[in-house]
């Protein structure tokens, strides 16, 4: 996609912007650099719906990049076209307030949106973002829980909640969040590794065993390049062996040596000069 941007052609820039919108990704620097000239000079080449989607996208990129003059210009045009009473436009105005760190004003606007539509997803998310930015993590957790009661399948929200809990070192609270994500995406090996890493932080024989199991499943789902899972099995095995219940467990020793051998093969293949690092990992006998 980097090549599409560089070509500079209208079609390629439109395609890049569309790709980012469809994948809900952000690349604010490039969106601003290529998207703003597109709407300034070539707006006639865009269909009406696409044009205003690009306006919104470039506006958000301008907020991200702290380009206030472009942000103000685009917001004025959006308001003139769609009116300041549109809930979508009110969300954009709220985001401008957030960018200016006027959090009370932003919350007021989101509150007004939710008074009209109590399940307005974007407004609810922005409220959570404001609480988080203001350092009120307890408030953010409460709002996230309220949001997830309505939008149970929003994986990003579960990840966000897990992230806040982990930041507060509330690892046991983070675990159910990952369990929800696993239910929604049972083939995603990354999630099993993340879940296992949090289990590892919980600590104790049972948690280490669960961690090892999830690292192993992550590796089963994706072997190629999954060093993270292999190291996870290695470390979990070492930790299990250091516990009273796990000391001398034969299965544990087998798994430890298996993971170590897999890693040695990977390093031999990819970077033999780093093989020596694996000498540091020793299972307590």
């Amino acid at each position: 996609m980097a090549d599409l941007w560089k070509s500079g052609s209208i079609a390629d820039v439109r395609e890049s912007l569309r790709y980012l919108r469809q994948n809900r990704s952000r690349d604010s620097e490039r969106v601003l650099k290529y998207g703003y000239p597109l709407i300034k000079k070539n707006s006639s080449s865009l269909e009406n719906i696409e044009l205003w989607e690009v306006y919104e996208q470039v506006y958000i990129a301008a907020l991200d990049s702290h380009n206030n003059s472009i942000a103000n210009e685009l917001l004025d045009k959006i308001i003139r076209q769609h009116g300041a009473k549109s809930l979508r436009v009110m969300t954009l105005i709220g985001m401008r307030k957030e960018q200016q760190e006027e959090y009370e004003e932003a919350e007021k606007i989101y509150g007004q949106i939710l008074a009209i539509d109590p399940t307005h997803q974007n407004a609810m998310k922005r409220q959570i973002a404001v609480r988080k930015e203001a350092g009120d993590l307890e408030g953010a957790i409460k709002l996230l829980n309220d949001y997830l009661k309505i939008f149970l399948g929003d994986t990003d929200a579960w990840l966000e909640l897990a992230d806040i809990f982990i930041g507060l070192q509330m690892y046991k609270n983070a675990l159910p969040c990952y369990e929800e994500i696993i239910l929604a995406h049972p083939q995603n090996h990354h999630i099993y590794s993340k879940y296992a890493e949090v289990l590892y932080s919980v600590g104790g024989y049972e948690a280490f065993k669960m961690a090892r199991k999830n690292f192993a499943y992550s590796y089963e789902l994706c072997e190629k390049g999954n060093h993270r899972a292999l190291y996870g099995i290695l470390m979990s095995s070492i930790s299990i062996a250091s516990t009273k219940q796990g000391k001398g467990e034969k299965d544990n020793e087998t798994l430890f040596h298996w993971a170590l051998d897999q890693l040695k093969e990977e390093y031999k293949r990819e970077d033999p000069s780093k093989l020596k690092f694996l000498d540091a990992y020793v299972l307590q006998e």
């Binding site: 992230d163 949090v198 590892y200 932080s201 190291y231 996870g232 690092f277």
Partner: protein, 156 residues
Amino acid sequence: MVKYLSDSEKEILSVIYRHSLAHPSQFVFGALLGRSNDSKVTIESAVPIHHGHPLNIFIEVSLYQVDFVAKSKDLQVIGCYFVSEDGNPTMSNAVINIAEAFKTQFNNAIVLSLDLESSGQKLKTKGWSSDSGKSWKGIFSNDLRRSQGISLQTFE
């Protein structure tokens, strides 16, 4: 009373600063390598380790590898550095968790951080040591001119 020294302050702090710039909205941490001799600890280099939440597994995996590499260069792990998401140097529970892990490698471990929130024209740092004790105490606070690099030879 342990004295912490370094002849490579500029290089060490530039590693830490660049690590924090590479991940501006995230917590970063790394290891400090050096040598200890009686009551003197010389900090020789900094090794970036991780960005994001410092879960135990990341700390432990890195300690294994960094310690191994340090020994191969006749150095030892003598502490760690961190830069928090908001640039504010505080010994939070997460930082204490990291520091305690590094203390298992070296009893007089030092913790170094950049105070990006207070830094304006000058780059400010902060340090802590447990000095074989149970709690972590602030040991110095330094102002360093960004454009001129580090001027002080000792951190004490």
